[in-house]
């Protein structure tokens, strides 16, 4: 086993122990913060796949998070609680949406790609606003949660935390396998020089579309989890400023590094938690932190710890 793998297992063990540690210190409240961090970590990691690994800067990624949240939220408000159905519907809806949006957006590059993903996301944002039957601009509140096998109850803070942790761990495992695979190498090459990669025989458009759809589906899963955590989803979840928050998380944490999305989500949400208790201008101070990271740690927070392992 490499040092890297031991580190990963140590982080996982610490994360599993967290609920008991918080209880020991009488800080159970922070478990909901930890759960929120896990959900955002999954969403940010999905954007990291697209942005950091694939080199595709999207300003509409929150639309897939919101779409997943609405998919699960609408099912719950219709009384459908089977987690299998929730999983299938979330994956199908976000997958089809990402396939359609990706097939069109990926014909453009650079700033045009940013604008077209933004445009699609805003379309979905206004669509969510206009669905009066499911809350419209007030948002959708649900009282039930989806039912998992073995009687796992997502209303129990511990249960939700462990489910979200398991999903995040699976996502990170998939990402690390992808990064070291033939497909990962192909995506890395096309990020460096797409024209050359295609000239050597790589179907670059199909590669980018697969990455785009995978990132969209993972974001949708994060969204489905978030509605089961908070019992609420509003159109603001799809707003472009939310996509901006995810971008900040990825850049803060380290684009293109395995732990970038996790580190960024944890850092931003903890900063928010700490600063918001002291000042209402917490975003101002968060800005300084982001500035420092961009200037002094180009590979992000995760990049500070990660050494090139071979």
């Amino acid at each position: 086993m490499t040092i890297n793998r031991w580190l990963h297992l140590a982080v996982l063990a610490a994360a599993i122990a967290l609920p008991w540690a918080l209880r020991a210190f009488g800080a159970e409240f922070y478990l909901s913060v930890a759960s929120k961090i896990l959900v955002f970590a999954i969403a940010a990691t999905s954007l990291n796949l697209l942005l950091g690994y694939g080199g595709m800067v999207s300003l509409g990624h929150a639309a897939f998070v919101g779409l997943g949240a609405y998919a699960s939220g609408v099912l719950l408000s219709e009384g459908v609680t089977s987690s299998g159905v929730h999983g299938l519907v979330t994956v199908a809806i976000t997958g089809i949406a990402a396939l359609a949006i990706g097939a069109i957006s990926l014909r453009t590059r650079g700033v045009y790609f940013i604008m077209i993903t933004l445009a699609f996301a805003q379309m979905l944002f206004y669509l969510a606003n206009s669905i009066k039957g499911y809350g419209g601009d007030e948002g959708l509140t649900v009282r039930t949660r989806m039912l998992l096998p073995f009687g796992i109850d997502l209303r129990q803070p511990d249960s939700f935390y462990f489910v979200a942790l398991a999903v995040l761990a699976a996502v990170l495992l998939l990402l690390s396998r992808f990064a070291a695979s033939r497909f990962g190498r192909a995506v890395q090459a096309l990020r460096d020089d797409e024209l050359r990669a295609e000239a050597l025989g790589l179907p670059t458009f199909a590669c980018k579309l697969v990455v785009f759809v995978a990132a969209g589906v993972l974001a949708g899963i994060a969204g489905a989890l978030s509605v089961n955590l908070q019992g609420y989803v509003s159109p603001n979840a799809l707003h472009w400023t939310q996509s901006g928050t995810l971008l900040v998380m990825v850049i803060l944490g380290g684009a293109g590094t395995l732990w970038g999305g996790v580190a960024g989500a944890a850092a931003l949400l903890l900063l928010q938690e700490l600063l918001a208790a002291r000042t209402e201008h917490w975003e101002f101070w968060t800005g300084w932190v982001l500035l420092a990271v961009v200037l002094f740690a180009r590979r992000g927070l995760a990049g500070l710890f990660a050494r090139r392992s071979t």
Binding site: R182, A186, A189, D192, E198, A199
Partner: protein, 251 residues
């Protein structure tokens, strides 16, 4: 005998500018076929049209007996029609070995395998190693692209096209910016390719071209004005007038 590459009536215009004008060209299997012509003749545009980066307005391209006119770049590459670039295009975040291994991978397909580590694919890296040895970069396999000299980058630029056992490589000014020694090494490499594949060589160094080529075609204003054995083309009055200029002893 039918040609390996058979181009007929190819056209390309950008607005009012005709860049490729009813161009026809045949490249035989196993030959080094040089394409020369003055600046602005449309050589690089033609390479992009043949390799599939640029769609032609009309005309047909047959490769190895198949009509590939409608195929895009990666499909043509998979059939064994590869190109190199005049301005070096390498993968900066990959080492020399990984650059070559990716080129081998791209020629094989199966690039959507997302679970097994590519590192353990021994045959892939053995094939990459063999090409690196052939282009003289085996000692630099673990170097990053930044650590290579200009000549070494040019060698890798050309070498990437050889990774997947091509049928025809289009080399766009492989010797651009090279010193005399590096040029000789590149010329030796190109000459050695004859054993394995055909070469369509675009080169400004006319001496090198006439030494290396089995066939020379001259491109002027988007059309081939002469094509044949080097000595025949060198003496062609139309070629002298349009490109080579009068020999010094005739002045």
């Amino acid at each position: 005998m039918s040609a390996l590459l058979d181009v007929r009536g190819l056209n390309k215009r950008f607005g009012g500018l005709v860049v490729t004008d009813q161009l026809s060209l045949q490249v035989q299997a196993g030959e080094v076929h040089a394409l020369i012509g003055p600046n602005g003749a449309g050589k690089t545009t033609l390479v992009a049209q043949l390799a599939g980066q640029l769609a032609s307005d009309s005309g047909t391209v047959h490769f190895d007996g198949h009509d590939i006119t409608k195929l895009v770049a990666h499909q043509r590459a998979r059939r064994g029609l590869l190109r190199s670039f005049q301005i070096t295009r390498l993968f900066k975040s990959l080492s020399v070995r990984e650059n070559m291994a990716f080129a081998v991978q791209a020629s094989q397909g199966r690039s959507f395998a997302a679970w097994a580590p590519v590192r353990r694919d021994t045959p892939l890296f053995e094939q990459a190693q063999a090409v690196l040895e052939r282009i003289g970069l085996a000692a630099k396999a673990d170097a990053s692209i930044e650590q290579l000299s200009h000549g070494e980058r040019r060698a890798l630029e050309v070498g990437l096209t050889l990774a997947g056992r091509p049928r025809l490589v289009l080399l766009d000014e492989p010797m651009a910016g090279m010193g005399a020694q590096e040029s000789d090494a590149m010329a030796a490499l190109i000459a050695s390719l004859r054993r394995d594949c055909a070469v369509l060589l675009i080169e400004h160094d006319v001496d090198a071209v006439f030494r290396l080529a089995d066939t020379v075609s001259v491109l002027v204003n988007g059309a081939i004005i002469a094509s044949g054995r080097p000595d025949a083309v060198r003496g062609d009055p139309a070629v002298i007038a349009a490109y080579l200029g009068e020999p010094e002893d005739a002045a």
